[in-house]
């Protein structure tokens, strides 16, 4: 009896370790960002709507903001666009866009056609800023605190469920600037 007990205990322990490993393995389509809890990366991009204006880290200070990385070449961005328009309607958190590896004309005609949920859009034509933000699959959405800290990141199309479950509870006393 006793001679089976130790191997059995070892086997059960091994199974437990493997099970925990399986359960806790990161979902590879939604990897944790090392930017969470850190200040937003320094960046400066021309604003799509007025290229004399700049979109930078200062743009994000003083209020909560949703930074949404998208591109007209991105299929899922079209899928989430309606949700972004609804978030804009709520007028709680302004949406700042980063137009990733895109043509300005394409972006403008997309917004003219589908509506514009963005307050400003930085045009990251060569994709350098997106790399500093650790973007690897558009669309990606970042929640930025008034202090300019990255609070949360969602990879993939934004949905109302994700917005209500993950983003809104983290926003405390959010008021859209000028509202």
């Amino acid at each position: 009896m006793n001679r089976f007990l130790l191997p059995l205990a070892g086997f059960v322990l091994l199974m437990a370790v493997l099970l925990v490993g399986l359960k806790r393995a990161p979902d590879k389509s939604n990897l944790p960002s090392p930017l969470i809890g850190k200040p937003v990366p320094q960046f400066t991009l021309p604003n799509l709507f007025d290229n004399t204006q700049r979109v930078n880290a200062e743009t994000l200070k003083g209020h909560w903001s949703l930074v949404n990385v998208w591109g007209t070449w991105c299929v899922e961005c079209r899928a989430e666009h309606e949700v972004l328009l609804q978030i804009k309607q709520e007028a709680r958190v302004p949406i700042i866009g980063i137009d990733w590896k895109d043509q300005n004309e394409d972006a403008l005609s997309w917004l003219a056609q589908l509506g514009n949920p963005y307050e400003r859009i930085g045009t990251d034509n060569d994709g350098r800023v997106a790399i500093d933000w650790g973007v690897y699959g558009a669309p990606e959405s970042f929640l930025i605190s008034p202090a300019g800290t990255v609070v949360y990141k969602h990879i993939g199309a934004m949905t109302l469920q994700v917005w209500q479950r993950e983003f809104l509870p983290r926003v405390s006393g959010a008021v859209s600037p000028g509202a």
Partner: protein
């Protein structure tokens, strides 16, 4: 009968050889001026993960982001950064997951330590089994010796 078959085989061989020459160049980043830098570039782009395709290295991936990251690796090399600095640069943006070779840091202690621990357990268990077996064998022999003659 034999002749046409041989021609067919030769044609096939020609076709295969012709296609073999068409190597698909994925990495179109311009080569670095210094062969040492180029060697380091080769190493880094093979040990950094393409975050979009995940099981491919930067060097082997044809997606746009991988191309952008290869350009960045090249620029950082030209800017005089060390391999470790470039790895840190990528980890700061994309996390540890971008490294195909996990680093020896405390968070990874289990990963690096587990093989040694398992090996030690194996050695101890194996040694005990062998010792028990030897003892059993001794006991058997002594019993044989002690057994009274029939």
């Amino acid at each position: 009968m034999r002749q046409p078959r041989r021609i067919g085989a030769q044609a096939l061989l020609c076709a295969v050889l012709a296609l073999a020459g068409v190597a698909v160049a994925i990495d179109t980043t311009p080569p670095l001026p210094d062969p040492v830098l180029q060697q380091r570039y080769y190493g880094l782009t093979h040990e950094l993960r393409c975050m979009q395709c995940q099981s491919e290295a930067l060097a082997d991936s044809s997606v746009g982001l991988a191309a952008d990251l290869r350009v960045q690796v090249r620029e950082l090399l030209l800017a005089g950064q060390t391999d470790d600095q470039i790895r840190d640069h990528m980890v700061a943006r994309y996390g540890e997951f971008i490294l195909f070779r996990p680093r020896m840091i405390w968070r990874n202690a289990w990963l690096w330590g587990a093989p040694a621990v398992l090996m030690a357990i194996g050695v101890v268990v194996g040694w005990r089994i062998l010792r028990n077996r030897a003892r059993l064998a001794d006991a058997d022999e002594s019993r044989l010796d002690d057994s009274p003659d029939p």
